[in-house]
Amino acid sequence: MAEGLTGRGASPVGASVPPGEPLVRIRGLRFAHGERLLFDGVDLDIPRGGVTAVMGPSGTGKTTLLKLISGQLRPASGTIEVDGQDVHRLGRAALYRLRMRMGMLFQSGALLTDLSVFDNVAYPLREHTRLPEAMIRKLVLMKLEAVGLRGVQAQLPATLSGGMARRVALARAVALDPDMILYDEPFTGQDPISMGVLVSLIRHLNDASGLTSIVVSHDVSETLSIADYAYIIADGRVMEAGTAAEVRASRSEWVRQFLDGLPDGPAHFHAPAPDLMRDLLGEA
């Protein structure tokens, strides 16, 4: 275990977390994709009202963690509570009520391809509110303006670039003004300007409406620059946890290698594999 975790009592985030109930409380989470064990007894708290970063190498299960929190996947054991409710014990209706208070930005954007950009952002509003069309139009245009894409409202998602599609998806995720937003890699595929805008947008959305944000990413510097709290996960465990400053100052060898992007150290760039020479010679 990372040294940062020892002797910190019940909350894995540590002494620097504000007192009070966390919004998301994960205890003893175990989950496997087929043979591959992704989480092996993970404890994790997401405090209310802040931006919490979850970072880790590619393929550690960050996307999977978001799907577990939102009830799209079911853990092998352990509990995930959101606002005091055990997500995996809720019935369908209650789970949907909870999801109406959650926005999720998918890694791929996941826009509905047969609807225009405007209709995509309007979709949750039309489904879940009885607002008049004129009001929906104003709301949608405001959300699209915030991500800088009001100009493409009439286009179909297929005509957008990957980065633009994800900004539209962000506008859709916040359309219902949720209490909590799950961002899956919001920065990948963004140019420096839209990256800067997105970074401040996420921070601004969080502070202006007092919501809770979970940002999953491996862009260390951008993510830490807006995060209040941060987790680093790898190999099915929490490697480091604390405020952004604490994590940045971590002395764990593994965490230092990850944060500084060093090729050599305890972490491995390669997926587990037999010895290269033996594999090439066909003996593996």
Binding site: R99, M104, E127
Partner: protein, 259 residues
């Protein structure tokens, strides 16, 4: 090494589990009925996509099938001096059998495969997950309107197929081979029974509509979310639909006409 018996058992259980999933999906589809009724625009869009866009292939096929029936029927019937009964023969074959069956096969190939690919791709590109995350049930909002669209479109298309086929038989029998036009129609009118022939044909095509759209939606919904998975889902849709339609046709025929 797995011994063959265990392998057989395993694939049997897997097939049974899939059948169970398919029936759960059917329950879900029926559960979305109300949601579809209060959103008629979604339903109309699907009747258009599955039905209207299939009319050309159905009408052209119906015409040719009717013309072939006209030719074949004439040669057989004229050997017995019963060429006047061509109208009955053409209409009965179409309304009872060929209309519902051939239309179902055409719709499975034209619209069923498209449905499976569409749903499978929506799954592969996480659109279905995105709907789930927006607290919208994709079965109710995406799949059910398609289900009822197919269910409504199938009998209408089959009726069109039969009607055009009867005209095709007329062109051949009366136009080409010189039969009496009045006899063609009046014999048909006298001998084709509304409840025995027409209603039973409609029942068949409703059943085929249900089965074909159900298979297509299930294959799409249960597809492995990859390019290969979607392509396998479309192939399976056509193969399973064809087998199910022909098998069910035998059962229904035996029940309806086998006194």
């Amino acid at each position: 090494m797995l011994d063959p018996l265990a392998r057989l058992g395993r694939s049997g259980i897997a097939a049974l589990a899939r059948l169970g999933e398919a029936h759960l999906l059917l329950v879900g589809l029926l559960g979305g009925t109300w949601d579809t009724l209060v959103r008629p625009r979604l339903l109309i869009a699907q009747v258009y996509g599955i039905g209207v866009l299939s009319t050309l292939i159905v009408v052209v096929s119906g015409l040719f099938v009717g013309m072939v029936l006209g030719l074949q029927g004439y040669y057989v019937l004229s050997q017995f001096g019963a060429a006047e009964s061509l109208g009955i023969m053409v209409a009965a074959s179409l309304v009872r059998e060929l209309g519902p069956v051939v239309t179902a096969l055409l719709v499975a190939g034209r619209a069923g495969s498209a449905l499976a690919a569409e749903i499978g791709l929506m799954k592969a590109t996480e659109q279905l997950s995105a709907l789930e995350m927006m607290a919208v049930d994709p079965i109710k909002r995406i799949l059910t309107p398609r289900f009822y669209g197919g269910l409504l479109a199938m009998p209408l298309l089959a009726a069109m197929f039969s009607a055009v086929g009867v005209l095709g038989g007329y062109f051949i029998g009366v136009g080409l081979l010189g039969l009496d036009g009045g006899a063609y129609w009046s014999q048909m009118q006298a001998k084709i029974d509304f409840s025995d022939d027409i209603v039973n044909g409609v029942i068949k095509s409703v059943v085929f509509g249900l089965v074909v759209t159900w298979i297509a939606l299930f294959q799409g919904y249960a597809a492995t979310p990859t390019a290969e998975g979607v392509s396998r889902a479309t192939t399976r849709t056509v193969v399973h639909s064809a087998l199910a339609v022909l098998g069910l046709d035998f059962v229904l025929t035996a029940l309806m006409f086998g006194e």
